[in-house]
């Protein structure tokens, strides 16, 4: 058993209100530099929708993630020798700037310095790449709240699992449904971006599993851009280096939650350490598609198990990190309660960001042209929820609904149970029956309710001490390093060797 620690995340989608505060917090800290204007290390998508970049889930086009070849061995979808040879100087599988969007600002000068006249002056949009006037054709959340749905939402790759009737229903007026899908780098256990880099510039930090790009080693091959199935590495055209979400490691190292977590209005985000068995990595990444979710769950180890603790100590995991893993909300969501699921695990990168899928209950009923909001049949069965189970399963279950159903049924039961307690229009017996059917004890229901509805800052973010001084000791004398270290680069990243 090779125990390692990984900082992991849970996003609770039923709590997300789609306000994009996380995206702005991230943008302000990390990607307001020249060349990175178009990047959104954190973005919030509307589902159904094509997302950012457009149709990122379409791996036929972008060739992200891993494939099992005819011998059952994992290989990168983006890179085989022949393809690489013929596409050495231009990778055709990466998104173009149009698939992201051309970043723009407005020429405010024209507004402020406009001469007096009869017309209202306007500030025309100018490209932040070329500086020329431009027509805005797309943006990073162009399909927000189903805008442009005949173009964007209807082209969601996940809709392919639906029947034509289901698709039609999904977009019917007054039945239309959507939910928000905030995304950051998943800091995968089997990251295809790291595997694809010809320069070896990407790496997964040993102590916490954060995936980073070494700006000095990056040689602009851009293999990671297409290899990442979540399209979460971006190429900075100004410095000629790739960049990605760094999970705000400088904030984590000083005990602060990452900016997007910290700023989240809906408090949907949870962060904590997971201990996992790295020996199982290859075996799990190779499992048949329908066993991947269970396989990944089995890899995650119980931090209370004395055997695991001993093995963790042996492989150099600090006691304080083990302690932190024991308090981790992520462990509870993923392992104890089993209601958080990895996104698109069929890409086989084993993402370490988990989502609590949205329950989306039908709050109103629609009969005889009347919309009713009676409390009768307030919650339907999960199958009557407006978002088809197949659609959710395409994102959170690799097409398999079993884990999704278990989680959603549990969530539904807890809602009924809380309704019985707080409002009382549901009989407690019925609620308890539902809890029992979903395999959830009352204590667990209370715990989930607390962690979902009443969670404090410290409940949501259990940040392990990073012990940078100890990590440094291996390389340098810490006091010496302290004198040399500072903010930023001594020389910024730039093109060339």
């Amino acid at each position: 058993m090779d125990v390692r620690s990984q900082i992991s995340m849970v996003f609770h989608l039923d709590k997300c209100i789609g306000c994009h505060t996380c995206s702005i917090a991230c943008k302000n800290i990390w990607t307001d530099r020249k060349g990175s204007e178009y990047m959104w290390w954190n973005n919030v998508e509307t589902k159904p929708g094509t997302g950012f970049p457009t149709r990122w889930e379409d791996q036929e086009t972008y060739r992200g993630g891993w494939l099992k070849d005819e011998n059952g061995k994992l290989k990168l979808r983006a890179m085989d020798k022949k393809r690489t040879l013929f596409n050495m100087f231009h990778n055709p599988s990466q998104p173009s700037i149009d698939d992201y969007y051309e970043p723009w600002t407005y020429k405010y000068d024209e507004l402020f310095n406009a001469p007096e006249g009869d017309d209202q002056p306007t500030a025309r949009p100018i490209s932040m790449i070329t500086g020329d006037y431009m027509d805005i054709k797309a943006g990073p959340n162009w399909d927000d709240d189903l805008s442009g749905s005949p173009v964007y939402a209807e082209n969601d790759p996940n809709l392919e699992s639906l029947t034509p009737e289901q698709r039609e229903q999904l977009f019917a007026i007054e039945r239309m449904v959507m939910f928000y899908f905030p995304r950051i780098c998943n800091h995968c256990l089997n990251p295809s971006c790291v595997a694809s880099c010809p320069s070896g510039a990407l790496y997964k930090r040993g102590e916490d599993g954060i995936v980073l790009v070494d700006q000095n080693r990056c040689r602009a091959w851009r293999a990671c851009i297409s290899a990442c199935p979540y399209k979460k590495t971006y190429y900075n055209w100004h410095t000629g280096k790739s960049e990605k979400c760094i999970l705000c490691f400088p904030r984590l190292e000083t005990g602060q939650a990452p900016a997007c977590f910290h700023s989240c209005v809906g408090r949907i985000r949870y962060l904590g350490v997971l201990l996992y068995d790295a020996d199982k990595l290859e075996e799990v990444a190779n499992l048949p598609q329908d066993q991947l979710i269970q396989g990944q769950r089995d890899m995650i180890l119980n931090p209370h198990d004395p055997e695991v603790i001993a093995a963790a100590r042996k492989s150099g995991v600090h006691d304080s990190v083990i302690e932190s893993a024991q308090k981790s909300p992520v462990y509870k969501f993923v392992k104890e309660w089993g209601i958080a699921l990895p996104p698109h695990i069929e890409y086989r990168t084993l993402p370490m960001l988990f989502y609590v899928p949205p329950l989306l209950p039908v709050m109103s009923t629609h009969t005889d042209g009347l919309t009713q909001n009676t409390s009768e049949k307030l919650f339907h069965s999960i199958d009557e929820a407006r978002v088809p189970m197949e659609f959710l399963a395409s994102i959170f279950g690799a097409g398999d609904q079993s884990f999704l159903r278990t989680g959603l049924r549990k969530q539904m039961a807890i809602r009924m149970y809380r309704r019985a307690i707080t409002v009382g229009d549901i009989e407690m017996k019925v609620a308890e029956q539902m809890l029992a059917e979903s395999g959830c004890s009352k204590d667990e229901a209370d715990a989930i309710y607390k962690m979902t509805a009443l969670c404090t800052f410290d409940d949501r973010f259990v940040i392990p001490p990073m012990h940078r001084e100890e990590a440094l000791e291996m390389l340098k004398e810490p006091h010496e390093h302290k004198q040399e270290a500072g903010f930023g680069f001594r020389t910024g990243p730039k093109r060339g060797l």
Binding site: T61, D98, D99, V151, Y152
Partner: protein
């Protein structure tokens, strides 16, 4: 101790002396090679004039100081309006003696010593190339053309003439453009003997380093001469890229671009653009 040191000193002196002798003979050999490489293409010693005059007993005709000055920088002496130099230029049909690379006063002195020594011999080894006087045959011309164009490899592995020179009658795109057009070379160098001497050891800065390593074999000089004589008879310019070549080039480039465009037609098409266009 002292004794052995003296002994060592003595034997050291002896070695030094031997070395000096060796250097002396080496330098004589070196001068001889230098003459062959740099002078023999235009001068003989007792073989009659080529491009330049026969150098046998040259010091009887002009004094040593004048000769050294002339050898070191012929252009300057000619430019100074020296009467004898002008006369030499006229005799050489206005082919001026080039300034030879690496020439110094000391070297010129050694060359004059060599010429003096060689002049005393019955027959100097620099009496000129002994080329057969037989008339050129059609086979000679054919072989010469093959050698010129590189169809037949030179025995020494020397590069074919066409890699740097063109000549009237060359097929296709003609020869190279680094060296001069050789169509009138046969006439310019006054035919067989002089051009033959030139080919035996080409002395220009570009050719010398190449042909010093792999000189043209004596048997190959005659066919080359035959071919060059034949070529001189041909009317018109040496062939070069004509209008057909231009057309071929333009059409070929366009075809190649179209092919690239076809092969990589799915590049830069994007994903979003197609979705939006598909809607209209």
């Amino acid at each position: 101790m002292e004794l052995s040191f003296t002994k060592a000193g003595r034997s050291g002196l002896a070695v030094l002396g031997a070395l000096l002798l060796l250097v002396g003979s080496l330098s004589a050999q070196e001068t001889s090679e230098y003459f062959q490489a740099n002078c023999a293409s235009c001068h003989t010693i007792g073989g009659g004039p080529l491009t330049g005059p026969d150098l046998k007993n040259v010091e009887d005709r002009k004094d040593r100081d004048w000769l050294i000055n002339f050898i070191v920088d012929p252009g300057a002496v000619i430019a100074s309006g020296d009467a004898y130099a002008k006369k030499l230029l006229a005799e050489a049909r206005n082919v001026p003696m080039p300034k030879v690379a690496g020439m110094t006063k000391d070297r010129a002195r050694r060359l004059l010593d060599l010429i003096k020594a060689e002049s005393k011999l019955e027959r100097s080894k620099f009496a000129g190339l002994s080329l057969s006087d037989r008339p050129f045959t059609a086979e000679d011309v054919e072989l010469g053309e093959a050698l010129f164009s590189g169809a037949t490899r030179m025995q020494s592995g020397a590069p074919a003439c066409a890699s740097c020179h063109t000549i009237a009658g060359q097929s296709g795109l003609g020869g190279g453009l680094l060296g001069p057009d050789l169509t009138d070379a046969y006439a310019r160098l006054n035919g067989r003997k002089v051009l033959g001497a030139w080919l035996s050891s080409p002395a220009t800065e570009t050719m010398a380093p190449v042909f010093k390593v792999s000189p043209i074999h004596t048997d190959e000089i005659l066919p080359l001469l035959a071919y060059m004589k034949e070529a001189a008879k041909k009317e018109g310019e040496a062939p070069g890229p004509g209008i057909e070549f231009l057309i071929f080039g333009v059409v070929g480039a366009v075809a190649a671009l179209l092919l690239c465009d076809f092969v990589w037609r799915r590049r830069f098409t994007g994903v979003r653009g197609k979705l939006v266009r598909g809607q209209k």
